[in-house]
Amino acid sequence: MARTLERPSAGGTPSPPRTTVSELPGRGFQPTPAGWAARAAAVLAPLMVGVWYVRSNAPVRSDALATAAVIAIGALSLNVLVGYTGQISLGHQAFIGIGAFTSAYIISESHQPFLVGVVVALLVGAVQAVVLGLIALRVRGLYFALVTLAWGKVAEQCLFRLKSFTRGGAGAEAPRPSGFTTDKAYLVVCLVGLALILLVDWRLVATKAGRAMQALRESPQVAANYGVDVKGYTLYAFAVAGAYAGVAGALFASRRLTVQSGDFDFAGIALTYLIVTVVGGLRRRGGIVAFSLLYVLGGEYLPDLARAIGVRTIEVNAGYYIQALSAVLAILTLIFQPDGLGTITAPVGRWLRGERFQLAHGGGALGRGGGGDARP
């Protein structure tokens, strides 16, 4: 893991003794059968509620949940760049939008099935991200953030208005796959997509490539000294992030049935996804998915709540209240709790895997002195 790397600038202070795997608290602990049963119940209960929810005629908000799944995939894509690799992207509206328009084009103009649309969106998303990654090789850190910002603007104002690609301002059609045209059925599609992305992301971090990317975050120079192919893995990270975003875009497009250039603006996509990633917790998959859900459900149920207590302005502008609130949460997260919601979800995850339940488990995220840039 990246924690084993030492930055040269940290030289003066003696480093604390390294914790090896066998010394980690909780090892050697085995849950009792009742403990395993509780863990199994904790996994199965939400699953069963989910199955019941999808099959029942209960008043459901499937569309909102599908939105949450799309936001979660987009935020996981940002997490690969910001969380794992330490690159920052402020142009994610381009990443998501390119996936959306590509999928729409493939489905409605080339008359291919939905799955082909998703796969092509994935590939195109990866390619555009790699092109951006080539710039990241030359321009690092904060300056690269500017390039992504400008790239997002170009996508918004130029790419998404090319008539041959997006049908101009009227929007491109992106029908849902046959058999999955209802909101509820389409939710299943989105959830399968999210599950696949989570699976890929989990394996990604656990492999050599994942460790290499995290080494790059701490210091590209040190990583290079340890034999990490800096260029290759930077581009790899961009390709992965672009691929996730392409999938998110394809699902986004078919959820709305039409895509327009106006759907992909800086404040609505790039900043919102960034904030979801930060509040969910960088490098905390569970936290990111959880906060995507909270973010969408907040916007969904706040109007009801506001109607109940009779505050009209909140009822009408619930989405913006949630956005403002999330921004405040993001700042508070950065200042007080760099792991974000991951502070809660990560211990739950470890508990489910058969460890003791305990909140503190080392591992700093963005902030806390480590990582990033030590120059004044």
Partner: protein, 294 residues
């Protein structure tokens, strides 16, 4: 023909570029003092614009302008105190994300106050054309903008070159520890630069909207932020005059492409031009045109 394709965009470019340059100076000041890329800068301008145009019809003109600038200044100070100072020793990427969160907070606040999708009229502060220059009219409004912006730039140059406080700010940016040992209060300097940056953004926000007759909520972030950053990068992120010159260059580049590339052939040409300039500068000459340190 020449008048439309060259002279008019040049005039507009200089005027808009001066405003962009002013915002870029704000970015440079903050970068010099806190080493932060301030993504909330665009919203300083928006706050200034709202402060001015919402009060203009109720109070005298100059009072409204003052309200706009003060509102932006206050936003800058609040950002420094509530967001930047608690994060002072964190990695710079963290600070960047935090300023982006400030931007989205201000944007969401405008939207929930009912500004979403609206267009706010911004009539010229002074009407009429001043004179005719190679076939194009130059309005008094444009002259006022350029004069005010140039005056602000000159005042800043004087401040940093001739006053103790200005020198203290420069010293802090170069060597915070030594500056502190010399008795400079770093928090005060940070407050000063963020306040100044807020006020500069506010001035740009008050002056620029009449050029396009109206403005939309969050226009500072969507329209001005990227050119301003590119201008600051052209100045090497550290040079105040460089940032202002960079602003003029960006204004010219944007308006010349706007007027000469048909949006049917390539929509959004100015944004493409800005990206090209930004990448070219960063790849070819990262120290900018007038910058000394990278």
């Amino acid at each position: 023909m020449l008048a439309f394709e060259v002279a008019r965009p040049v005039v507009l470019g200089v005027v808009q570029g001066a405003g962009v340059g002013l915002m870029a100076i704000g970015l440079v000041l903050i970068y010099k003092s806190s080493r932060v890329f301030n993504f909330a800068a665009g919203e300083f301008a928006t706050v200034g614009a709202f402060g001015f145009y919402l009060t203009k019809s109720h109070v005298p003109f100059l009072v409204a302008a003052l309200i706009g600038v003060l509102a932006a200044l206050g936003t800058g100070l609040l950002t420094e105190r509530l967001v930047i100072r608690p994060l002072a020793n964190r990695p710079r990427v963290t600070l960047l994300v935090a300023t982006a969160a400030v931007a989205i907070f201000v944007i969401a606040f405008q939207f929930l106050a009912g500004a979403q999708g609206k267009l706010f009229g911004a009539k010229a502060l002074v009407s009429g054309n001043a004179f005719r220059l190679v076939g194009v009219f130059v309005s008094w409004q444009e002259i006022v903008i350029v004069v005010v912006l140039a005056a602000s730039g000159a005042a800043l140059a004087w401040f940093f070159g001739r006053t103790d406080l200005g020198l203290a700010t420069l010293a802090t940016s170069q060597e915070p520890t030594a500056a502190r040992l010399m008795g400079i209060r770093l928090n005060r300097v940070a407050m000063l630069t963020w306040g100044l940056a807020g006020a500069l953004g506010g001035v740009a926000g008050v002056l620029l909207p009449p050029l396009t007759q109206n403005f939309t909520p969050a226009f500072g972030t969507t329209d001005l932020l990227i050119p301003a950053f590119t201008a600051a990068v052209l100045g090497g992120m550290t040079s105040v005059p460089g940032a202002f010159v960079g602003g003029l260059v960006l204004g010219l580049v944007q308006n010349l492409t706007q007027f000469n590339v048909s949006s049917n052939r390539l929509p959004g040409a100015p944004s493409v031009a800005v990206l090209v300039v930004l990448v070219a500068v960063l790849v070819v000459r990262p120290t900018g045109i007038l910058g000394r340190e990278a």
